[in-house]
Symmetry: C2
Amino acid sequence: MIKIAVDAAGGDYAPHEMVKGALKAVQEFGVEVVLVGRQNVLRKLAEKSPVMDGISIVDATQVIDFNEHPMKALQQKPDSSIVVGIELLRNGEVDAFVSAGNTGAVVGSALLTLGKLNGVGRPAIGAFIAPIPTRPALLVDAGANADCRPEHLLEFARLGSVYSKNILDIESPRVRLLSNGFEEGKGNRLAQETFPLLKSAADINFVGNIEGHDIVKGAADVIVTDGFTGNIVLKLIEGYSDDFLTSVRQIGRVFTSASNQQGRKLLRDIGLNAWTQRMDYTEYGGASLLGVNGNVIIAHGRSQARAIMNAIGLARDTIERGIMEKFREEHYEQTSRD
Amino acid sequence: MIKIAVDAAGGDYAPHEMVKGALKAVQEFGVEVVLVGRQNVLRKLAEKSPVMDGISIVDATQVIDFNEHPMKALQQKPDSSIVVGIELLRNGEVDAFVSAGNTGAVVGSALLTLGKLNGVGRPAIGAFIAPIPTRPALLVDAGANADCRPEHLLEFARLGSVYSKNILDIESPRVRLLSNGFEEGKGNRLAQETFPLLKSAADINFVGNIEGHDIVKGAADVIVTDGFTGNIVLKLIEGYSDDFLTSVRQIGRVFTSASNQQGRKLLRDIGLNAWTQRMDYTEYGGASLLGVNGNVIIAHGRSQARAIMNAIGLARDTIERGIMEKFREEHYEQTSRD
C-alpha cells in the first residue's frame, strides 16, 4: 500500500489542519499516512478522530520556522519534522513526503539527503497554475533557484515536460519561455540566451515565448522561467485568488441559496464556478520538487485541511504513475550522495 | 491652453478609436488635441464628428508596427507618427505626447530626441496598477529596461517617488522592492544588491520588500523592479483583468437591470463594482515614461476610445501638476542632446 509522510509541524495551520487533511486523505484516497511531528501532540489530535486505521505517527521534536535560514536550520535541528520526514523517504519507509513548511529547508534537505537525479544540475519547483479549469499549466521554476543560467532553464523545460507528460497524460507538452515579448529576440539576457537552447533541444516541444497576459489563457502546458520571476508570478496569482474568492463566495452563497434557482442557472451560464475553481490554488494542493531522487511535494504555507488532502492526492498520483521511474528512463539516473 | 499630441496611427484600434478618444477628451477635459497621422484619413474621420474645435491634425505618412525593431524602424521611418509626435513635443508645439504604438520605438524616440533628465541613467516606465480602488500603486520599471543593475533600480525608486508624490498628492510614498521573499536578504542577486541601496537612500521612503501576493493588497505606493519582471507582472494583471471583466460584466448587467433592486444592493455590498474598476486597466489609460525631458504617456496597444481619453487625462494631470518642473527641482536638470 502507498505510504506518504506528512510534515505535521510545518505551515501556518500546523498541526491541526495537517492532521485533519491527513485523515481526509486516508478516507478519500485509501493511502497510509505517516504524520511527522511532536508525538504527544499528534497522538492527542488523531485520537479525537474515529479514523485511525491508515494513520501512524513518527516523532520529531523540532520545528523549522518559515523565516529561519534554511541551511542553518537544517544543521541546528536534526530532529525537525522536515529532516526526519526526508530521512523516512530516503530509507524507503515511505513513498513520498509532503510539507507545508519552510520551502528552502525542504529543498535543502532533499538535496542533501536524497541527492539529485543524475544529469540534473538544479532541481526546480514545478507548480500548477490553472489557466483553464480543465487543463492546468506547470510553472517551473516556481521558486527554488532565484538566479539561473540558460542551461538551467533548459533543464527545467526537460524536467517539466517529463513530469507534465506523465502526471497529466499530455502526449507532447507545449513548452513556452516566459518573456516580455512574444517574438524571438525579446527578453532579458537570460531569456534571450535560453531561447535558442530550447529551440534546438530535440526532446522537448518548444513552441516559443509566452507573455504575462497569456499565462491565464492556456497557451502552454509547461511555462519555463527562473525561480525569482516564477515565485512572483505564482504569488501574484495567489494574491488575486485570495481576494477574488472572498468576493465571489459571497455572490455564490446568495446565488446558490435554495430559493434562488435563477441565480444558480446564471452562475452556471457565466462560468463563475469555473472561475472560482481556477482561482482556488487549494485545488492543486502542492507543487513538486523536480530533479531530486524522491517524491517531494511542497504545499503552500497557508494550507488548510483541504489543500493538504489534495497535496497528498498529488503525492499519490506521482507514485502511482511512477514519475520517478519515468525520469530515470529519460536518461536521468540516480547519483550517489558521496 | 493645454495642447496634447496623440499618435493616431499606433495601436490595434488606430486610427478610429484614437480619434474617438481624442474627441471625448476635448469635451471632457477642455484640452486641445493634435492628431498625428495620415492627414487625409484623419480629416475624414474627424469631419464625421460635430466637435472639431480643439482638434487639429499634423500629417505623418508612416506607421511603425508593434512588431518592428524599434531602433531600425526609427531610422527607416522619419515621417512616422511617433517621430513626428515626439518632435512636436521637443519643439514646444505641444505639452505632451500620447501613443499606443510600439513601446520600444516611443521610448527610443524620446531618448534620442528629448534626451534624459540630468542625472538619470535609465528612464523607466511607471504604470499604475490598482491594488485598492481608491489608491493605485506605481509599478516602475514596467518594461523599458529588461536588464538592470542595482543603481538603476535606485533611480527608478527616486523617479517613482517624485512622480507618485506629485501626481497623486501622496506626502511620502512608500517604496517597496519586488522580491521573492519579505525579509532583507531574500531575492535574486539584483534584488539582494538593491536592498541596501534603497535602505540607505535618504530621499525615498523605503519600507522593505514586497512579495507577489501583496501587490494586490495596497502595501506600497511605488513598487520597484526591473523592466523584465515588471512587464510580466503588468501583463499578468491585465490578462486576469480581461478575462475576469468578461464574466463580471455579465453578472453586472443582470444585477443592475432596472427591475433588480436587491441585485444592485448586493453588488454594492460585496464591492464588485470596486473590483471591476480595479481590474479595468482602461481606467488608468496610460503609463508615464519617467526620466526623459518631456511628458510622454504610453497607452496600452489595445486601447480603445475610453482608454485613449484617460491617457490624455493623465497627460493633462501631468502638465497641470508640473511634474517635469518637480523632477527638475528634485535635482534632475535638463541635459543637452549633444
